[in-house]
């Protein structure tokens, strides 16, 4: 790419090459990555929940305490919450046009996804590690 000597763009901005879009393909890529991961992990989650439905309290705790089950559940939750956060961000950006409200909702969206993810992962670890 030829460089215009009269350009007022900083060398850093030119190297980043993002222009007015401000960001690159990070959102798109992470959205697709978690989409692919969600397919097998969702099937795993559905099977685990179906198994939980047939167990009593002690049996349910023993199932979640199983390392394979716990890790699959944590993997599902991480992938799903990252994917949910990205998806809801796009919905907010599509329908909320007032800048202040938009930024506030995007922040809330992230806080919500992180809190829900942490709460569920903490619960699984507590069961698995015998708390």
């Amino acid at each position: 790419m030829s460089h215009n000597p009269n350009s007022i763009r900083t060398p850093l901005a030119r190297v980043r090459g993002l222009g007015a879009a401000k960001s690159g393909t990070g959102h798109f890529w992470l959205q697709r990555l978690t989409a692919v991961a969600n397919i097998p992990l969702t099937f795993a989650m559905v099977v685990i929940v179906l198994m939980l439905a047939k167990l009593d309290y002690a049996g349910a705790r023993a199932l979640v305490a199983n390392p394979l089950v716990g890790i699959l559940l944590i993997a599902f939750l991480v992938s799903a919450f990252v994917h949910m956060r990205l998806g809801m961000q796009v919905i907010i950006e599509d329908y909320v046009h007032e800048e202040g409200r938009k930024i506030a909702l995007i922040l809330l969206n992230t806080f919500f996804a992180v809190l829900m993810g942490l709460a569920s992962i903490y619960a699984i670890l507590r069961i698995g590690l015998g708390g």
Partner: protein, 130 residues
Amino acid sequence: MPRTSPAQRPLSPHLQIYKPTITMVMSILHRVTGAALFFGTLLVVALLVALAAGKDAYGTVQAIYGSWIGKLVLFGYTWALFHHMLGGLRHLIWDTGAMFGREARMKLGWATIIGSVGLTALVWAMVLMR
């Protein structure tokens, strides 16, 4: 001087103007199910948190999920989950540049809805026939 009275021209057409097509309905359902799953996944969080909290909390959540309204919500969550999954699979196929033709995209649309209803029925058959 520019004309200041409102221009007498048709407004831009919206949803009610168009005859629904399978691709359009699937597109809308993909976003609706995605938004529903954002909140629906709280059902999984509540189950796990209650399981960690103790027997009483878990019993309460089980009673709610076992009630008819709880089952109805879980049924909806199951369908949204599978519908959004198959709709996403369709988008992943499109990401490769394949199946954009008229016939192919119609087939994909129908496969999405038939597949999601089928998978939901399969899961709930397992739930109800225990």
